[in-house]
């Protein structure tokens, strides 16, 4: 049941991205190109999409917050981190750099897999590799010295 709900939510999410034009890298880059504002060729689409999404999710999350638990699960996985630290801002900056180079963030990248575009496939493969690289790097930093790890194994 949660998987079916997740599929439908993913479907509605993806439909929203396609209908709003956010799967089109030209529209995303057209928004990010703020120097086009004085030239009159700026594309405000992304701002409208964000505003419309938040117009629903702001009151929506406020209402959901008041419930004790989700409809189909025992606990709600509300994020508990609050620190505005270097990993947060550094990660966001790296993400922003990649986003600005192509115009794809993770949601539209995945939805665009449906087009079977080789360049999109490459982007998603590189993105997954970047995620795996980060997780491996984090595990290595968190891992105890080699001797201690051996002792704990098995």
């Amino acid at each position: 049941m949660p998987a079916l709900v997740a599929f439908l939510c993913g479907f509605v999410f993806g439909a929203g991205l396609v209908i709003s034009g956010m799967t089109d890298t030209a529209k995303v880059l057209g928004f990010l190109d703020v120097l086009a504002i004085p030239q009159g060729s700026w594309d405000p689409t992304l701002a409208i999409v964000m505003a419309a999404a938040l117009a629903v999710s702001l009151p929506g999350f406020w209402l959901v917050r008041r419930r004790e638990r989700p409809v189909l699960a025992t606990v709600a996985a509300w994020p508990d981190k609050t620190a505005i630290d270097r990993p947060l801002l550094g990660g966001a900056a790296l993400f922003g750099a990649g986003w600005g180079l192509v115009g794809l963030c993770p949601g539209p990248a995945i939805a665009n897999l449906a087009t079977l575009s080789p360049a999109v496939l490459l982007f998603v493969a590189a993105m997954l590799a970047g995620m795996a690289t980060h997780d491996a790097w984090r595990r290595r930093r968190a891992a105890p010295p080699a001797g201690a790890a051996l002792a704990a194994d098995g």
């Binding site: 405000p44 689409t45 999710s57 999350f61 989700p70 609050t82 990993p87 966001a92 180079l101 980060h134």
Partner: protein
């Protein structure tokens, strides 16, 4: 590029916000695509994450029934695509979220952390576009 269409933008955006709200209401999960993908690689509870991803891919296919063409987006040189993909993957994992997790869900929770992240990736992306298009 398709012409500016504020009505489609608003309808599509509202659907994105609705999907994020419904996932939280029903399953208690954050609709952050980077987090869903990253945890799909690593952790348990793969079923709902895989289902969400499949829904994302199924939507553009289904919408062709209503005449919305399935068009591959314009993409830069493959070397740029590969570097950008790595940056997006590593960065969203390090920063714990992307446009959906921080931008839609985090701001909807009024999380200062997500607002800071969203401002950061927006400003850096704008800077990169300014450099690549206007320099």
């Amino acid at each position: 590029m398709a012409p500016f269409d504020p009505v489609s933008a608003a309808i599509g955006g509202a659907l994105v916000g609705l999907a994020a709200t419904l996932l939280m209401l029903l399953t208690g999960r954050i609709a952050g695509v980077a987090g869903i993908l990253g945890d799909l690689l690593g952790s348990a509870e793969r079923a709902w994450r895989l289902a969400f991803v499949l829904g994302l891919i199924a939507a553009p296919l289904a919408l062709t029934i209503f005449g919305l063409a399935l068009r591959a987006p314009p993409m830069p040189a493959l070397a740029v695509v590969a570097v950008a993909g790595l940056l997006v993957g590593f960065g969203t994992r390090l920063g714990n979220g992307c446009t959906s997790g921080h931008g839609i869900c985090g701001i909807a929770r009024l999380s200062p952390r997500s607002i800071a992240a969203t401002l950061t990736f927006m400003l850096v992306a704008m800077l990169v576009v300014a450099l690549t298009r206007h320099l």
